[in-house]
Symmetry: C2
Amino acid sequence: MSGGVLEGVRVVDLTSVVVGPVATMNLGDHGADVIKVESPDGDLLRRLGGMSRCGQLSPKFLHMNRNKRSIALDLKRPRARQALERLIASADICVSNMREAAMERLGLGRDALEAAYPRLIHCRLVGFGDGGRYAARPAYDGIIQGMGGMTAIFEEADGRPRFVPMTIADHVVGLVAVQQILYQLYRRERTGKGGTLSVPMFENLAAFVMSEHMGQLTFEPKRGEPGDRRVLDPGTQPIPTKDGYICISANTDHQAHALFRAIGRPELCEDPRFATVQARYANVSQYFSLRNAALGERTTQEWLDILGAADVPAGPSHSLMSLLDDPHLSDVSLFELREHPYEGMIRNIALPGRAADLARSDYLPPPLLGEHGREILSDAGLRPEEIDAMVAARELVTPEHGLS
Amino acid sequence: MSGGVLEGVRVVDLTSVVVGPVATMNLGDHGADVIKVESPDGDLLRRLGGMSRCGQLSPKFLHMNRNKRSIALDLKRPRARQALERLIASADICVSNMREAAMERLGLGRDALEAAYPRLIHCRLVGFGDGGRYAARPAYDGIIQGMGGMTAIFEEADGRPRFVPMTIADHVVGLVAVQQILYQLYRRERTGKGGTLSVPMFENLAAFVMSEHMGQLTFEPKRGEPGDRRVLDPGTQPIPTKDGYICISANTDHQAHALFRAIGRPELCEDPRFATVQARYANVSQYFSLRNAALGERTTQEWLDILGAADVPAGPSHSLMSLLDDPHLSDVSLFELREHPYEGMIRNIALPGRAADLARSDYLPPPLLGEHGREILSDAGLRPEEIDAMVAARELVTPEHGLS
């Protein structure tokens, strides 16, 4: 009894690394029973992204795989494939990020699944959408960032492309995948019908970036350059203070004028270059440079006090370390200590904003590879001697085989 | 008859700028009837983010406000507030990003809404979650990026904090808002009950970044530094070629070894510094620098051909301009030309991955300020003379008042 909104919904998760796992964890966080199906080697992320005490639970893996149970099956073997088939037969949702050819070899091609399980919602995470010439290509976050415009906006701003230093395409498309699954789940509740969803990373990231930065290319014929110049201006940065950095958002005339007064330049409120939103947009570089020059004269905390009193929105540029100690996050217990059976005490990231009781009430620690294989197959109706035989043959890999 | 999965679901949208509008557009894209309630001045985004032909439909506004109808009400006036009350009484979902005090002045505080409309799903977009000390503060994308760790990861990588040059906190939290609304809609379908959702920007962005970069701070006591060093390494960048930039993801041993052979360094496959995932992680700077040195010797297209043949995942680093011309995106019609009644031909960004028919089948062009005010109030049961009186008193602002 998970207690979340998806209690009673079963997910078979055939994904690994980031985009799939963050999506299925979200479903698990909201109460679904998520069965993470891994190869005998396990999800690559278990060993990627930092060290762990037991050797297979990297910090990133820990943050993307709570509220799931793990089963490790060698899907090259017929009995393992049959076991997977049983799990899918019992599932409401299947999420995959294997290429279609690999799914077909497992007997899990989209047509086969639709025919056998009309209530199943099958979410295919793909790099590139069906019907386009890159459809068969694999996808990786860095390539999607590069092709999807994320690196381009740094090139526009700084003259040189740059990745966001996190797997942001994976995280964004993971959110889109959850959304698409929930739309389909809502439809199924009303019609009884499942179906296949394809969530392409490239198209989704391109839409995400271009909705902000298509700029004058929006018009046909084009009326000018792409990009929102205000956001792309090289001066749109955390601003150095005497001892660190501060972020300020003074968008409306009211806020900008309050900022001018706070930095001792009240005459700028009347200056035609800076008096209005449109004027500041047209003269954004000058605006930012005079603002930044003034802010170097005091510490971050001094400015936060002055700007807070003047009702100018501002905040610090946190480091990863100071973020962890932020007092507001402490008030809302975003980072909560949990006892992990194999890693000791770990800092879990709670689901933000739990007011509506959508989240599950229990907590399943991120699992070892194959930790729940026996119980999952037993629940699926396999007899103990069948399960023992699969373990002996390493068709089912469990922690009994030893941590590698 | 929109034809989408949310056909028959009505949304009253009290948001402006980015985070709310992207969320409600997504609901509209999936068939909901979204009523965008604006002040007589209109959504700030109408004039922010680039020029438009008619003066109130900036490119960013166009990309975040299709599939909505607009009504402009002066909510300082009692008849306008009564009209809004009627709209909310007919709604399934209300999305707001006003501060709670402003909502209470309109008689729309969370307790009042819950008491009056038990089936209503009220999604409150807030900067900072309830129960924390910043709860009353307004939120802006730049401040949330700074406080939520997005600028910190650039500081970790480059020694200086930087914003992602788009309003990425708004876009990410917009996706979270849709997700939370859909969870609640699914619950309502089963229980009949609505409820209030609070979606805090700060907590959500912090969770988004820290799930990737909490690193060794995940453990208590801390075992080392935050951050995934492989992702944060300054060498994790699009790589300069002879004529541009290329992105390469060679994560597995198989891919990395294929890359070593492709750049003419097969001996590295056996080199203990680079032979395995763990070894490359430990020697990431050396790994990236020798890789990057080799790639400068040919053009992007030459490398794409060589690496494609070797099955090493790679792609170009698109510019915003070349992204628009990408042939795969053309195959799938991501950017589609639409006739807009006031702007001429515009490039709309289609909803990616439309296979499951979740999307609406019609298309409502982004509206002028107040364009649908008369029809919305007429549908809500107001008599023509009542509506005329509100227009005459500028309680209801419509295009008849002239484009400003």
